[in-house]
């Protein structure tokens, strides 16, 4: 029971946090595809 509670609690926070991190990674992808030159 304690293990399930622990699993539930960590899942509760890792799912939204993981989603937020995924969104940021997606957003940052264009940065890695650029070839930039200093002005």
């Amino acid at each position: 029971m304690k293990a399930i509670t622990l699993l539930l609690a960590w899942t509760w926070i890792t799912v939204p946090l993981g989603w937020g991190v995924y969104q940021s990674v997606q957003k940052s992808l264009p940065l890695f595809g650029i070839t930039a030159v200093a002005k």
Partner: protein
């Protein structure tokens, strides 16, 4: 209402302390939404015109004032209610935080619907801001009591949750506004209501599972070191005494300088990389996303490292490495290396996050754990000051520079200013000495 009292939250024997970090993160990842508030700026600035702003619409600056009020109230409420938080315990405080923060979101939703700017300021800024302050400090001392062996890591996890809140709050608001947008609404009012409900559920979950350790509790097999460092005390200092010591104000300066230096990049990130290098707006947005991830990761990594290196040492790293990296940016620009620029500024942002996350453990080292949450509450007024004044300073400097020099050179003096701020922080950190024993509480006064 006995359920809400501190006594009712004392853990029963066999309680697993690893349930407390998710409780803290469940609250912090909600109130961290404040960092993602900027996504509402453009929609709220065309709430009447829908497709474009019309006469009578709020300006983006008008909307931004709500964010500044919220951050100011975060610091003020944390400072003002700190002792109440220590007395009441984490459950009651988390619940109060939920009531303030979520009712603030509901009032913001109504402010958008009725187009009342004062209600936006009162709802999001004033009431929501109080919720931010309460929620931010609510789990701090509880976490450090559960993890006396790793206080930096424990508070780092919670404060990482606050950083994560920005990564969730921004995209969530965008998704919801897109879902609710119609020909007559930008969808912000409905999005805010849904967010209030979702955040209320998460914060209630956090306040339900949080527990405080029984008096005298220690982790199994853990024996406190006799004397780890002169800066780590086994005594306790009350909040009303602590804030009158030089050590408190030195750490206030340390936090204020560290935050200001990070904001120097965060606030200008998108225009800066576009001005300094030939990158597209989409890549610049990607850069901002990457910096947010660095901010998040740094909160956990550096605060955990501080348990090994020591708090004073880790802040020396933040300031010296940060100053060196800022100094190197003009050279990196000369080399034309975007990669090096991203790595350098990303590293700076990890230390910006680390500075937030390490400060509670630094306070505990110096003042003990007795009222460390309340002391932390008073110290984060430094964050409010830096968060409001810092971006204003950077904005004005960059705008003034762009009038007199090419945009790609307009940031050099900002970097020099950042180095100066970090040097001030370093000096303040180096001056930190153990708190005079005359300030320590008697043995029986804190039990």
């Amino acid at each position: 209402m006995r359920f809400l009292t501190r006594e009712a939250t004392v853990a029963s024997p066999g309680f697993n302390r690893w349930l407390v970090p998710p409780a803290a993160i469940a609250v912090h990842m909600c109130i961290g939404q404040v960092y993602g508030f900027s996504v509402f700026k453009k929609p709220l600035a065309k709430a009447l015109g829908i497709s474009a702003p019309v006469v009578g619409d709020w300006s983006e600056a008008d909307v931004g004032v709500a964010y500044s009020i919220a951050l100011a109230l975060l610091g003020l409420s944390a400072a003002f209610f700190g002792k109440w938080v220590e007395r009441s315990g984490p459950r009651k405080t988390m619940l109060a935080s939920m009531l303030c923060f979520c009712s603030g979101l509901v009032l913001t939703s109504l402010a958008v619907r009725w187009h009342q700017l004062w209600l936006l300021y009162a709802g999001y800024g004033l009431i929501g801001g109080i919720g931010l302050g309460l929620g931010y400090i609510a789990p701090v001392s509880t976490l450090m009591k559960w993890f006396p062996d790793r206080p930096g890591m424990a508070t780092g996890m919670a404060i990482m949750g606050f950083g994560g809140g920005a990564l969730i709050g921004g995209p969530l608001a965008e998704v919801l506004m897109e879902r609710f947008a119609t020909a007559t609404s930008v969808g912000a009012s409905e999005a805010l209501l849904v967010m209030a409900c979702l955040y209320a559920i998460s914060m209630l979950f956090g306040s339900w599972i949080v527990r405080v350790p029984p008096p005298g509790w220690k982790p199994d097999g853990w024996v406190p070191a006799e004397r780890v460092s002169k800066l780590v005390t086994t005594a306790h200092v009350a909040v009303d005494t602590a804030w009158k010591t030089p050590q408190f104000w030195m750490l206030w300066v340390v936090l204020c300088m560290n935050v200001s230096a990070g904001i120097g990049i965060l606030g200008q990130a998108s225009p800066m990389i576009q001005d300094m290098f030939e990158v597209t707006p989409a890549a610049a947005a990607g850069y901002v996303g990457l910096l947010s991830l660095c901010n998040l990761g740094g909160r956990f990594f550096w605060s955990s490292m501080s348990d090994v290196i020591g708090r004073k040492g880790i802040y020396c790293i933040y300031f010296i490495l940060g100053a060196a990296l800022y100094s190197s940016v003009p050279w990196i620009q000369g080399q034309g290396s975007v990669t090096l620029f991203v790595v350098a500024t990303g590293l700076i942002l990890t230390m910006y996050g680390g500075g937030f996350a390490t400060i509670p453990a630094y306070l505990r080292d110096l003042f003990g754990s007795y009222q460390v949450g309340a002391i932390h509450g008073r110290l984060i007024t430094a964050w409010s000051v830096a968060a409001i004044l810092g971006p204003q300073l950077m904005d004005r400097l960059s705008v003034a520079n762009k009038k007199t020099m090419p945009p790609e050179q307009a940031y050099n003096s900002i970097f020099q200013l950042m180095v100066g701020l970090l040097v001030v922080g370093l000096i303040s950190n180096l001056l930190v000495r153990p708190v005079d024993s005359k300030h320590h509480l008697a043995e029986n006064a804190h039990s």
